[in-house]
């Protein structure tokens, strides 16, 4: 892949972040405030209000890990799915590799996630969770999740410009997946006959792995994570292949919209 394109990805991601920060009064503070507020709301609703799921130990920490990890996945996929359409005027004037557009979204969201994740870890420390050697596995977990995000984001980004209706469907699918990812409940507490649904959901394995490391101080189950990593790589290759073979189709599809 051309080095120029990576420079373009970083620079456009920087431009997006800078624009986003310039649009509000407190700017970059929102990147800290956003996850804090979301964590606060979920804490109020599920931690104080609906204490039904109270069987889980350290429920608040359990919940917030799920939320922050999920958010990284969902916002990246959501932003990326519209990335090629959003850059319509570039697509119509430049012969440019289209993966640049979702990659830019992923880079920007990864940066915001890094802040949110640091806030989360700070909260966990503050709430008395011990810092353990198991934390050393976090970089690997982040790589696995990033690969999954790239895979799903590239494939959706590749397809949405040609099937714009898919964009509407994606937000509903993400919502469904949110409820099926064991974010505010423990999938191990769910009935045996539904376990296959959770087994097939890559985000269940990702979220459980983070919880194993930072909450329970234990080894995550690496085998399912390896499968998630492989799935991410396959989807990524498929997405890039699609965007390359459809390269000249996008301009025409966007022209006709």
């Amino acid at each position: 892949m051309k080095k120029n394109l990576w420079e373009l990805v970083w620079f456009r991601a920087y431009a997006d972040l800078k624009s986003e920060a310039s649009r509000t009064y407190i700017g970059i503070l929102w990147w800290i405030l956003d996850p804090l507020l979301q964590m606060g709301i979920f804490y109020l609703v599920f931690g104080v209000g609906l204490r039904g799921a109270g069987r889980t130990e350290n429920f608040v920490q359990f919940l917030l890990i799920g939320i922050i990890i999920w958010r990284w996945f969902a916002t990246s996929v959501n932003f990326s799915s519209g990335a090629i359409m959003q850059n319509r005027n570039l697509v119509l004037r430049l012969d440019i590799e289209k993966w640049v557009f979702p990659a830019t979204m992923i880079a920007g969201n990864a940066f915001k996630f890094a802040i949110a994740f640091s806030v989360l870890i700070a909260f966990l420390m503050y709430s008395g969770m011990p810092l353990t050697w198991y934390y050393l596995q976090l970089p690997l977990l982040l790589i696995v999740q990033l690969t999954l995000i790239c895979g799903v984001a590239y494939v959706t980004a590749a397809l949405v410009p040609l099937l714009p209706d898919l964009k509407n469907l994606i937000s509903h699918l993400l919502m469904l997946m949110f409820f099926l990812s064991g974010i505010f409940y423990d999938v191990d507490d769910m009935p045996e006959k539904f376990q296959w649904v959770f087994d097939l959901n890559p985000m269940v394995h990702v979220i459980q792995a983070y919880r194993a490391v930072v909450l329970h101080g234990e080894m995550p189950e690496w085998l399912p994570l390896l499968a998630v990593f492989a799935l991410g790589l396959i989807l990524m290759a498929a997405g890039i292949w699609l965007m390359r073979s459809l390269n000249v189709v996008y301009a025409k599809a966007l022209q006709a919209v």
Binding site: N89, L90, D95, I96
Partner: protein, 243 residues
């Protein structure tokens, strides 16, 4: 020596006419020509004659649905002024963005950046967000930011001058000088005077087809002739309506 060759090129648009219905329309059909190294090639035609579509095919944005484009000259890309500009970024940052979008390495762009600043004449405003610029200032930045990167074949869509009146003259003069220095380019326009000044050969497009080709005099007079005819038919039509 290389050439940029269009062979029987056709481009079809499929227009959405309802939930599932589509209607096809040929924007270009049977277009053939050859641009040699160092050529100054004009594509003349009215609005909607397929000029912009042709540029998109030549730059590789569209693939032809019929025929083919063979390019052995090297990258053919559109002169893009203000393309991809971001309002919240400074003039300097937008100039970097423009270079990157034109396929240049950041290092190369940074080497050029002071020249760009000077050419734009923006002075200290170069460091301000372009949201604070007037349209004339943005035009100057846009011109300066894309002036230094010449592809093997430069594709120019309509007027290339930008900015306020004073700058327009400067930009036009610089561009003319550059184009006359042996750069290979395809210039799309309906400004007959500019075409006559800059180009040696070209084609006239009408309704997506080549209506005339040859040296620049032939096609500009053919264009003027067709404009006259069109005006005459329109007069007749309105006379009939009135009568």
């Amino acid at each position: 020596m290389g050439a940029l060759i269009a062979e029987n090129v056709g481009v079809r648009y499929s227009l959405r006419k309802g939930m599932f219905a589509r209607r096809d329309k040929w924007a270009l059909r049977g277009v053939s020509f050859r641009v040699e190294q160092g050529d100054s090639f004009a594509v003349v035609g009215r609005n909607g004659s397929g000029k912009s579509t042709l540029l998109r095919v030549l730059s590789g944005v569209f693939a032809p649905d019929e025929g083919r484009v063979v390019n052995t000259l090297g990258a053919a890309s559109l002169l893009t002024i203000n393309l991809g500009f971001v309002q919240h970024l400074s003039g300097r940052e937008n100039a970097i963005m423009a270079g990157l979008l034109q396929g240049r390495r950041k290092q190369e762009v940074l080497k050029r950046i002071e020249d760009i600043k000077k050419l734009s004449g923006l002075g200290d405003a170069f460091e301000d967000p372009i949201a604070s610029y007037s349209s004339g200032m943005t035009g100057r930045l846009g011109f300066a930011a894309s002036f230094y990167y010449d592809p093997a074949v430069l594709l120019i869509d309509e007027a290339f001058s930008a900015g306020d009146d004073e700058f327009k003259q400067k930009a036009s003069a610089l561009m003319t000088e550059k184009l006359q220095s042996g750069l290979t380019f395809v210039f799309v326009s309906h400004n007959i005077q500019q075409v006559g000044k800059l180009c040696k050969r070209g084609i006239l497009l009408e309704g997506g087809k080549v209506a005339a080709e040859g040296d620049v005099k032939t096609i500009t007079s053919a264009y003027q002739e067709s404009q006259k005819q069109r005006a005459a038919t329109q007069r007749e039509a309105s006379a009939q309506k009135a009568g």
